[in-house]
Amino acid sequence: MTAEDSEAESQSLLDEAPCGLMRTAADGTILRINRTFYNWLGLEPAALIGRRRFQDLLTVGGRIFHQTHWAPLLQMQSSISEVKLELIHADGSTIPVVFNAMRRKDQCVVVHDLAAFVARDRDKYERELILSRKKLEALVAEADRLQSDAKDRALFAEQMIGIVSHDLRNPMSSIQMGTHLLVQSDPSPNQQRILTRIRRAADRATHLIADLLDFTQARVGKGLTVVAEDIDLHALMGETVDELRTVYPGRKLKHRGLGQGPCRADPNRLEQLIGNLVSNAVAYGAPEKDVTVTSSLSADSFVVAVHNEGSPIPESSQAGLFLPMARGTDTSSSGGRSVGLGLFIVSEIAKAHGGLARVQSSLEQGTTFSVVIPRG
């Protein structure tokens, strides 16, 4: 093979190469271009070589990109690859093309060598990717919006509960006061019976309102307030159980005091706590069995607990018991006044004292709710 043959073969190899090849001057002026490339463009080499610059073949967006990314990259690192830009065909249509480019010195003159691959499939794939990402982004935005709406509504509802229960306290205390005065004004036996019923109903409603207020204070505000003072725990629990006996006349309530020592806590909150736990024990426990309130003092903590017998609380629902609106599934007994806030408030009172509420429940042992409060 002669040198000329070899030269011709190289030329044909370049011209027929399955990719576009181009050499430009440093400013982009086209110096050489192979047939594959100019056929893609729909132009003759005479219209390109020395007359057009590589960047002139790009869309305007591509030209800006060429200036802000391509040129500095090529300048600094002498080569770039896999940059996708669009070429403009002689008929005005665009062709997505992936480029590799290299900057080199050819006899002391800087030239840029480019290889180009038409990338319609990659282009399509990328467009699909972009489309699905946009869809996903829209979905995420919608979900975010719904969630934030729901949060707003929940907060509004909780604030509403707070406002309404606060405002209900005054009319309730008027009813209680009025009933009290009527009881003293020598009513007939029939009126006496009605007045007792009104008083009980008003007491129940007052309790409910107090629970709701505590709930909103714990949820929307900064937690329940406690005013701790030195108390005689066993005496306080004893009195509380005595009062509860008059509320639940049909049930056997016991109190046990264990250990001795000083104790510091909010007495009203402890009464409320035991009231809520006993109310649950009466509502859900076995009606013929005892309900036992235990108060115990030890060196580093004190504990108040309420125990009842009867069917146990399933393990699966134990974890969520202290969340607001949770309640036992067995509501066959009608004594309960709960709207599902009782245990939440118990837990909040425990927390406000720096302690913890917990539950143990099994068929053999019965159910014990206890609150452990470490000594300050």
Binding site: S79, I80, E126
Partner: protein
């Protein structure tokens, strides 16, 4: 002397120009938030939805690092970021040096910015269209740089990399900006380094700026492209030195 890079890459763009000035001045180079090695977690889509967000950062840097009056060197969009910073606290600036500046890229009546709104949309599409090549951590791969062994691997793969979302917003903020109304307030001595062939900042834009800025010098250098500090660092340094000498800086 504070150097602010333009849209596209990062402070490495100054590597052929800035070192020459480090003997005479305290030189400060930085990456705009969202570009180069800046802390991406600091990128706030609200703050950086206008050039003012970047100008606030630039001013913070000037306050922090400059001992005396500052010469602010801004490329492309950063020239306008420099104008905004300068308008806020003019006493801090001795000079503005604008490399390839444009106060408005889009044609508007008699004003020729060089682009139409559709052109800019096409750029945004191009940025988006390079989804595979430019997504997240994939920088445009390089095939080796035989001529420049001194170029560290770290540099080669990072300096033009931008998070695609950031790049898109920055492109929008840059190319849709219109700073023409703010120019008249700038009284600091200004050098406009204009390339004779630059599609992003055409000669007509340099002329316009020169007319609008009362205390400005226009120097046209022979360069094709938008980054003369990379492709023609010698001529850029020459006009810069002449300007600094004239202003006694």
């Amino acid at each position: 002397m504070v150097f602010a890079h333009g849209f596209g890459c990062d402070q490495n763009m100054w590597r052929l120009l800035a070192p020459a000035y480090s003997k005479r001045y305290r030189t400060v180079l930085f990456d705009l938030v969202g570009s180069g090695k800046s802390d991406l977690s600091a990128y706030d889509t609200v703050k950086y939805s206008t050039l003012q967000g970047y100008a606030d950062d630039a001013l913070e840097i000037v306050r922090e690092f400059s001992q005396g009056p500052t010469i602010f060197v801004g490329h492309s969009v950063s020239a306008m970021i420099g104008v905004l910073a300068n308008l806020q606290e003019p006493e801090r600036f001795a000079a503005q040096i604008m490399v390839g500046p444009s106060p408005c890229y889009i044609n508007d009546g008699d004003y020729v910015g060089g682009f139409t709104r559709r052109d800019i949309d096409s750029l945004l599409e191009t940025l988006e269209g390079n989804y595979l090549g430019w997504s997240s951590n994939m920088a445009p791969a390089i095939m080796g740089a035989p001529d420049q062994p001194e170029l560290s691997q770290e540099l080669t793969n990072s300096f033009c990399r931008t998070d695609p979302e950031v790049a898109k917003q920055f492109a929008r903020v840059t190319f849709l900006s219109d700073m023409r109304a703010q120019l008249t307030g700038l009284t600091t001595p200004t050098l406009i380094v204009q390339c004779n062939d630059d599609i992003i900042a055409p000669v007509t834009v340099g002329d316009y700026l020169h007319r609008q800025l009362p205390h400005s010098t226009l120097s046209v250098i022979h360069n094709v492209g938008h980054c003369p500090h990379l492709s023609s660092p010698g001529p850029v340094a020459a006009v810069l030195d002449a300007f600094l000498a004239k202003e006694g800086l």
